[in-house]
Amino acid sequence: MIFTSGIIRAADEVDDPTMVDEEEVRQSPFWDWEFAFNALPEMLMAFIEVTLVVTVLGTLIAAVLGLVIAILIRVLPAPLAWIVKWLANFIRMTPIVVQLIFVFWAFLGVIDNLTVGIIVFGVHYATYMSEVYRAGIESVPKGQWEATTALSMSAARTWRKVIIPQALRSTVPSLGNYAISMFKDTPFLLVIMVAEMVTVAGEIGAPAFRYTEVYVIAGLIFLAASYPTALLVNRLEKRLAYAH
């Protein structure tokens, strides 16, 4: 797949903007439509095949694992819950870039880089989601808990049938917001040589040192994808707030 072994074009080898031949820049047009149109299909492919895949799978992992973390912190005995909580804090408060590099090298040859990216994004955002779920669980009224005790429900049944359905309702917009910020974080994948859209853009631009078109297109695609989604999430948020 996209796993590139052996000599890797190190990710820190982006072109040095201070080494440009200014005379050459002056003679070339600022914007080249033909170059832009030629770059577009390849970038869109990378966008669909990598950027969206990472975002969707990462969000799925984050949604499920975040709930697991939130419940574990709640049900585990104190010292274990404390460990899980601080592990989550640790992952949340450290840079995803360093985490990507770490997991990439620690499992070099075992997991391919796209999978590394999906896992790291999923786990990183799961620690954010766990906070959202925590707030959601806390917002379930005390009476609900007491009712399950009164009905002598088992713990598993209490969580599955009573608490989680109520806790999850208000967390959907936050999940959407984190999916959007994960989406905008996907260019970080260039540090582990995953060919997502911005990395591909850089590769297209590198031979001729023409970056204007590719990065403007990349920015527009990000805007075009994230802004409508953000509006949608916003509306959902307002509707849920109204329903409460």
């Binding site: 820190d12 072109d15 920015g219």
Partner: protein, 286 residues
């Protein structure tokens, strides 16, 4: 343990390389502080504009906020690195030429603009959360705009926006790790990538790198929580910073500790607290 066999040697490498690592760490701290300061200025300016009743101020602010939030940090960084300097290359007479060749400055700009746009939302949201009676009172007293912002509205909004700004600043610190790909900027992550070669990835990135980034984030958070305690005290809503920090036992736990989940002990759960954030402040102004 086999795994830690080489670690004594690794620590020697760290001692030998300490100046390189500290230099990288200093670059990261500078990126975080300058980027954060720029982000704050942008956030307040755009936030005030976005919260203003005039469409002429609101519309451009909204466009800028959505634009700089919507394009990813990395794309913004690359646009600043490769597209912005062309302006100077094509117009050799423009002043401040050296600035665009300073890649460190471009990194600070990218971080500041991106997170500043996020912060603008927090500023705007906290301005609208200040009770309308306060706004009306300033009008009744015919205060000038500057006077009412400085003395009445902003101090209250400030206490509301601080938790969001704290989160954003930690985000900025974490985002600054991408600066290692910028030519001529060697931040802490760049130093870690070098440290990986004589040591191994578990030592360099997990044991040294992530732990130090975590400590930096904790320090930032503590600093901001102190600011929040101070802001609340000034509004008469909490103990002073001195009282919070004093080792003497307190009658009531200070709420300066932020959204610490101490309240969730039993399955009954604590009081209903929204997820934090500026827009989620429960109380009015007494």
């Amino acid at each position: 343990m086999d795994f830690f066999e080489d670690w004594p040697g690794y620590f020697e490498v760290v001692v030998n390389w300490s100046d390189r690592l500290l230099e990288g760490l200093w670059t990261t701290i500078q990126l975080t502080i300058y980027g954060g300061a720029l982000a704050f200025v942008i956030a307040v300016a755009l936030g005030l504009m976005a919260g203003s009743p005039s469409l002429w101020l609101r519309a451009p602010a909204r466009i800028l906020i959505e634009f700089f939030r919507g394009i990813s940090l990395v794309v913004l960084l690359f646009l600043l690195m490769y597209v912005l300097p062309q302006l100077w290359m094509r117009n050799p007479d423009l002043p401040l030429r050296d600035l665009v060749y300073n890649t460190f400055l471009l990194g600070v700009l990218a971080l500041g603009i991106n997170y500043g746009a996020y912060g603008a939302e927090a500023v705007r949201a906290s301005l609208t959360t200040v009770p309308s009676g306060q706004w009306e009172a300033t009008t009744a007293l015919s205060m000038s705009w500057v006077h009412k912002m400085r003395r009445v509205i902003f101090p209250q909004a400030w206490a509301l926006m601080l938790p969001s700004l704290t989160n954003l600043w930690v985000h900025l610190l974490k985002g600054s790790a991408i600066a290692y790909i910028i030519p001529h900027v060697s931040d802490f992550t760049a130093a870690l990538n070098q440290l990986r070669r004589p040591t191994d990835i578990w030592f360099s990135h997990a044991f040294i790198g992530l732990v130090i980034y975590f400590l930096l984030a904790l320090i930032l958070t503590l600093f901001m929580q102190a600011l929040e305690a101070r802001a609340k005290h000034k509004l008469g809503r909490g103990p002073s910073l001195r009282e919070v920090l004093s080792p003497a036992p307190k009658a009531a736990p200070p709420d300066a500790a932020g959204p610490d989940p101490k309240t969730l002990t039993g399955p009954g759960g604590g009081p209903k607290q929204p997820a934090s954030g500026a827009g989620a402040h429960p109380g009015g102004f007494a």
